[in-house]
Subunit: 664 residues, 2 copies
């Protein structure tokens, strides 16, 4: 990452910018300038915590989209969350006329997303703090090898919330895998507005786990190495099969826009698929992104209890996006996109290769059949190819691989991969037989407990199935007894379809209808020739229900985990399942609260919120770095098309490895 | 497929044959000869229904495996299921001394797997059957365009079972997709032992759905075609990364044997992984295969009620394996294996390219981390590669893609893909508004109902985690309240581990512990250095519970679907979850019955039986051929290794696309 030098405003030309394009460096600088003029920083303490595109009104986007060439795009606006003299500001900046469109002071609970700069400053405070230096000395450790990390503090019922983080420290000496070497027992509370240490705790003295075995850099590893994987060449000599026009992607029968936001990371917008029969593009997904990510740890002791992170709203999935490594994070045929976000001072910060896009040739079969009941055997097979949009978000120890995979069949497969480093606690034990207390995790190595935890991702899915007006349909499979002796068969199942009229009717419990229901977003105003409602259904790939008590503070704040699916009427202001200001939030502004109004959702522009969960009981394989654990879900057309949309697919031409010497 | 000419016995050399190698053509001919000598076919009516490898005693395999070069392999034997003069014979042939080791007449319920020859003969009988010819004429159809298919009849409480199939017919005229053109209403019952029609029903007259729109051959499709997929080259210039020694595969850190059986298809045996730390191979899976596949249709009317197929035991997943199409069924870098099974007369029948093996370069990430809390950013990423063993089994209309995927991390990912043609029922309706009765399915096209149905695959998984003596551990995540105010946190979850002592304790209901349990096969006699029991856990990817009533005949026969997981003590005779002779079986010999003995399973050689289910409510996209719908499960090491087993993986060398013109 590097800070930008000034860019002239003339760089901005709105005709070229897609309304969903992320804010560009010139725009960030313009916003910074406008706000610095409004709040002279000489006599104000101004910090930018979030600057993102203020989503244009849906109606204006849709009318513009009718003819982007001719129509004027909707006004370009930015949403700004800032701290000004210990107050939270919500500002909307109009970039078209370079003015402040609206501003208000937020007086509710919770604080904006943290800034990387403040996290950094807070994490170095202890290094010059007497009592901490003393604690380190008493432990016989070398101060120069200590690194500290600022963790959000959550909310646990306190009446007044100072804006604080809890800083904990780790020991580098001999490894870069510091998360496996905690100085367990020391917690430093830092007030971020005053940027000073307000509380200091040194409660427990337990040896720092040893560095040996924690490294993952090849240079630091001893032989033997292995296993050896075979080299392969993948290439598209005709170039990539997809076209990019700025952030607009077209591939096979798909068109969509890939955005980027400091808070939620990658955003898929205006995804439409070309219908060969109707000879036109048909709308599916207006907007889709990870709206929140809840990671509660299951150790209630003083040093860990507060670790109940809402990573998107507290840290930002986008501003923590990792630069992707060609050939390793994404295959040889990948194309990369850089991303930008605003630093604390408003200047644009670049993340190189924040996203990658590649055609996935996994050797899957799109469809096939061998017909053997006729005289001669007939066989037809179509190999599958898909297009993947990948972002990796690294939130201190954990790395989240976030894929959107588009299939020509109309399916959108969303995949999440968990890898990175466990959050651990130091203990004196080298064998589980020595453990007589509850250590709230697994002994994954000597003196090292991998703490039990969860990962709950909530996906915001504004499906517009062939238009905005949609309904949420529950298709329940119900056992029937066979009556009036039509056959010796005694039972069968049939489907009972129920359209959810209100938000409460739409909610899907993690257990309810499990293994015997389908969940479909339909367009009640359109049907196929034979009369089926056209729709898309969500097929989960796994399941984990929240296990915290409903009355526990983290669960109140992350109440969106309570249900697997929620449906709300589209509301521009309801973007993030955990609420707008989730740092130290109190659960008074989130998906659970919004839906309590129990609004009508039938034949309306609706949003589906899907919660994908993982429980994680760490195992030794997760040490010192965790092999990817994956899950996800599929959005699959269900009577959206008149028939198989890839029946007439044109097979990828097979490219032979050239018959000549190749150069490694 | 083609029938073999005689092969001299001298072709057989037992030192070269791995004890798990499938029977080879010479062996089939030897078996045929031995049995023809025993039962002179001049005065006997002898038909071979199943000839497979008689699995050697596990103890003898394991002792042989200690040093395959020096030790003599266990005696080579074949298990034969035959029909002799309307009786079922179970014969074991000893190939080493060319004799019959044992033979007995089976007097229980149920019949052996059907033979392709008998299915074919039965399916042509109607074509020369007066009443049927009359029915076809009355419908104004052209007899020369009629094709019939024999369907197993199931069991529905009748006291006496004749060995019958129910033949139903389809209309080809203008399409090869005959399953979409049923002559609905006509059912012909054929006695297979007498090979004659014993009952004839022409109950309903409904128009045959039109051919238009049913084709899937490009030659028969009209433009426009699309979408167009981009060509890509995939090649391993250094050759495939795996070695094949007959049916023995070694790749990366894996070694295993790939077998083939007429009934269950591909079999993975003796799978072990090389442990870099212990510098030795460690055992994981002794044997794994699809032990049964239950496909009940949900239409109770006379024409459909009996369609409750047990595809493995009734039809044979192996003898119905499709010949895989290079570049389309498997990618360019795949290697293919032919397979053989015994025809009805005992002669070997070849299936070319019955299996394929390929390295999968899907662009996944094996593990990664970006460390940002230190001065300089550190990034380590390892791309993933896996090895796939694929078989496609085509059971008349349906195609099952059955993959075993081995990952260097120690995970075995089992994947099932459903594609092919729907089983349909003809109706007079062209729009759902016309439908006033229950049609037991979805109107997927004019006059065509895609019938509701399920697919339940049961996987036999004889895990030997670092040895035979294993236990089945349920790890339940349980919510705890925080006591004695150690923090303001109110709750957390912890793990409660319970070892199943008996078969009844081991069973896992489809709903039980859903989303809050882990299921691990551990070795209670071995532990890691820090004391964790080494194990492997099964992670489901989806779920569908059976919806038939417990007292319904098909559910009694397929009772293995009742639970998601079962555990039994290893018993050589318990191979197939639906029982041995499942055609018209009565559920008196299957997994549910065996486990009713409630045997002890703790610290024993145990077998895990996993049921993977799909409910299928057809949609129009499934017409005329269904885009693949996938699910599966993961077997993942859980404290099997001391640490991440791919920490020191040697990255695949990237191979550049040669810098020279390539030839298409």
């Amino acid at each position: 990452m590097f800070i930008f030098s000034m860019i002239s405003f003339s760089a901005i030309s709105y005709q070229q910018i897609h309304p969903f394009d992320p804010l560009n460096p010139a725009e960030f600088i313009l916003i910074k300038t406008i706000l610095h003029n409004a709040y002279s920083t000489s006599n104000h303490n101004l910090a930018f915590h979030y600057i993102g595109l203020d989503e244009p009104d849906k109606s204006s986007i849709l009318s513009w989209q009718q003819n982007p060439a001719a129509n004027v795009p909707p006004p370009r606006r930015a949403l700004v969350h800032a701290r000004l003299d210990k107050q939270t500001l919500k500002i909307v900046v109009d970039l078209s006329n370079r003015s402040i469109a609206s501003k208000r002071v937020y007086h509710g609970f919770g604080f904006p997303m943290s800034t990387l700069d403040q996290e950094t400053v807070a994490s170095v405070l202890p290094l010059s703090y007497g009592p901490f230096i003393e604690s380190v000395r008493e432990r016989g450790l070398n101060m120069s090898q200590v690194v500290c990390v600022a963790f959000t503090a959550g909310w646990f019922g306190e009446k007044v919330s100072e804006r604080v983080v809890k800083v904990q420290c780790f020991y580098e000496n001999g490894t870069i895998n510091v998360f496996l070497r905690p100085l367990h027992g020391i917690t430093i509370v830092v007030n971020l507005d005053d940027m000073k240490i307000v509380q200091y705790f040194d409660r427990i003295r337990v040896p720092v786990p040893k560095a040996e075995g924690t490294e993952y850099r090849p240079s630091e590893l001893k032989p033997p190495f292995g296993p050896r994987l075979n080299g392969v060449g993948v290439a598209s000599p005709n170039g990539p099969g997809f076209k990019m026009d700025g952030h607009k992607i077209s591939w096979a029968n798909w068109v969509f826009h890939v955005g980027f936001d400091a808070r939620v990371g990658s955003i898929i917008s205006l995804a439409s698929i070309y219908d060969l029969e109707e000879q036109k593009y048909r709308r599916i997904l207006y907007n889709g992104y990870v709206s929140e990510l809840f990671v509660p740890y299951m150790d209630p002791t003083f040093e860990v209890y507060f670790k109940t992170f809402l990573d998107a709203g507290e840290y930002g999935l986008g501003q923590n996006a990792a630069s992707l490594e060609p050939l390793n994070d994404c295959p040889a045929n990948a194309v990369f996109i850089d991303a930008y976000f605003a630093g604390q001072d408003g200047s644009p910060v670049k993340i190189s290769n924040a996203l990658c896009i590649f055609e996935k040739h996994a050797g899957n079969i799109m469809w096939r059949h061998t017909e053997t009941d006729l005289g001669d055997e007939v066989r037809e097979v179509r190999p599958d190819v898909s297009l993947v949009i990948r972002m990796v978000s690294t939130l201190s120890n954990y790395d989240y691989i976030l894929d959107w995979e588009f299939n020509p069949s109309g399916s959108i497969n969303v995949r999440v991969g968990l890898t990175g480093i466990l959050s651990t606690r130091a203990v004196p034990y080298s064998h589980i037989d020595q453990i007589k207390e509850d250590v709230y995790g697994s002994l994954v190595a000597e003196n090292t407990i991998g703490t039990h935890h969860d990962h709950f991702l909530n996906y915001y899915l504004d499906l517009d199935v062939d238009g905005e007006a949609n309904s949420f349909l529950k298709t329940n499979l119900v056992t029937k007894r066979v009556r009036d002796k039509i056959s010796p068969r005694k039972s069968y199942w049939t489907v009972v379809k129920k359209t959810a009229r209100t938000e409460s009717e739409a909610r899907v419990d993690h257990m309810a209808g499990f293994g015997s229901s389908e969940y479909v977003v339909i367009n009640p105003n359109k049907e196929t020739k034979v009369g089926n409602n056209i729709g898309y259904r969500l097929i989960p790939m796994s399941a984990a229900r929240p296990l915290l008590s409903d009355d526990d503070y983290p669960q109140i704040r992350a109440a969106f985990t309570k249900y697997k699916m929620w449906v709300t009427p589209y509301n521009k202001s309801e973007k993030w399942a955990g609420g707008t200001f989730v740092d130290q939030s109190r659960g008074d502004d989130n998906l659970a609260v919004w839906t309590a109004r129990n609004r009508k959702i039938e034949n309306k522009d609706i949003v589906l919120w899907y919660t994908l969960g993982f429980h994680h009981v760490p195992s030794q394989e997760d040490f010192p770095v965790m092999p990817t654990l994956s899950s996800g879900f599929e959005l699959r057309p269900t009577n959206f098309f008149e028939r198989n949309p890839v029946l007439k697919v044109i097979r990828p031409q097979h490219v032979n490895w050239p018959n000549c010497t190749n150069h490694h």
